[in-house]
Amino acid sequence: MPPGLDNLKHIVVLMMENRSFDHMLGSLAAVNSNIDGVTAALSNPDTTGAPVKPQPLAEFQSQLDPDPDHHFPAVDLQIFGGDTTPTRAPNMQGFIKSYFNQQKDVGHSQKIMYYFAQNQLPVLTTLALEFAVFNRWFASIPGPTICNRAFAHYGTSFGRVDMNPIDINEPFKAIYDRLIAANHTAKLYYYDATSSTMEVANLLQHEPELFGTYQQFLSDCESGSLPEYSFVEPNYNDHDTDSGEAVASDQHPDHNIQAGELFIASVYNAIKQNPDLWQSTALLVVYDEHGGIYDHVVPPACPPDQFTASANDTGTGQPFAFDRLGVRVPAILISPWIPKGTVINRVFDHASIPATITKFFLGSYSPRSPRETNADVFIEPNTAPVDPARNLLSLDAMRTDCPDFDVS
């Protein structure tokens, strides 16, 4: 068996907030032509009809104010450009129109097309170039955070496309419960109690013992007691703590992008600084949804879930069968067993997370949602035969040239 898979004992997922692929990693198309990022051919019309190209003028904070709309009707406009006919085709031409609706300012609405230059995001861009970057990782639904995060925990959002609490009426268990029931270990780490978790309605309310803090994550990494599966949440709000200011690190507009870079680097460093952990861990850094910000890749259709959101629930006048993915988001898989410069073109969404964890640690399992059952996995199960074309942890020997981040 490949030594990368043989050694793999821990999978960690860090899910950040509300930034699109082109916005964060689009600059890398100029560095690695295999990365499907920003090119000169891309544009969106503004409300005067003028084409506006993406530009590397994104700022760390205070630019995308108001927070770009990323609820289902707005994302529908962004993807379909305002076409509501039954025969419409997605064209990714509605981003500026959507942002214009919020402030009615033509100049300000064009900023939705801005992206970060490579040197503004040294952590994220280094990780993308050093390890495996996914050209086709999409949000699970063309809508907001709560539903998209639900796909990461349950493999479905139980028919919801909004931000209200989700009632778990169906038998699809959270990935943590599946693992623990089979005598495996799993934990969610939120930053602290003031930030808490976005998975309140079900997991925090009924199983708070599943949760630890970020300080516990750091000490678990140091002591080598990290569970087999860990889900890490960034700090969702600015607040004071006993040890000083905790700047929000989720990168959700209008929080500071650099605080998020620091957080990503800290998670990476915590794993890497324990050599036993580093060689036995795969870290996925992914964003929950695009936050209303421009991306050029059309989200593909997908096998539907067993739920349907009504026309009333979607707010568009049309029902939604969960048969189209959301907008593309940054996703990077990190491990010293991954060749430098790996670029993946297979399609993934957040249902791939429970799909991967389940298949790797449990093998076969049911019941699972149709969306999860059909989702691709980003780590191959360590059972013969392993398809070498699909295995990302493919090196015969661990790399010794992986970067460190100076967070001092």
């Binding site: 952590v123 925090l204 600015d238 004071d240 700047v247 620091l262």
Partner: protein, 122 residues
Amino acid sequence: MPLIPVLKFDRKAAMNPDRPVNALLKAQVRHLHEAERNLPLQHRTDIYINAIKTEGEAGEYIRQVTNAIHDAHAAAAAKRRRGIAIAAAASDAPSDKGQIQKKSTRATKKKTSPKPTDGTKT
């Protein structure tokens, strides 16, 4: 191994707990409010969520309810453990039926023995 510097930033300038609460935090507050309604009274806050306008206010509410959920579960777990301990202690206690019967007989005798009414002692 290359050492990549993370860009420094002004934490004080980045931080703004007076920032108007965003849609995500509003949703989180709503979810926690639903959870708070299921908590026993002694674990609930006295915060009116409709009055939460800033990120700092949201954070304070989030902190209180998150901790309250943990506390409520811990209290329930402690109660279960006490219940188990009491049941275990009761099942471990030595069998004392003979002593108990003697005691109750003496009590019965004491009860039934009438007091003399002529001043003589029993």
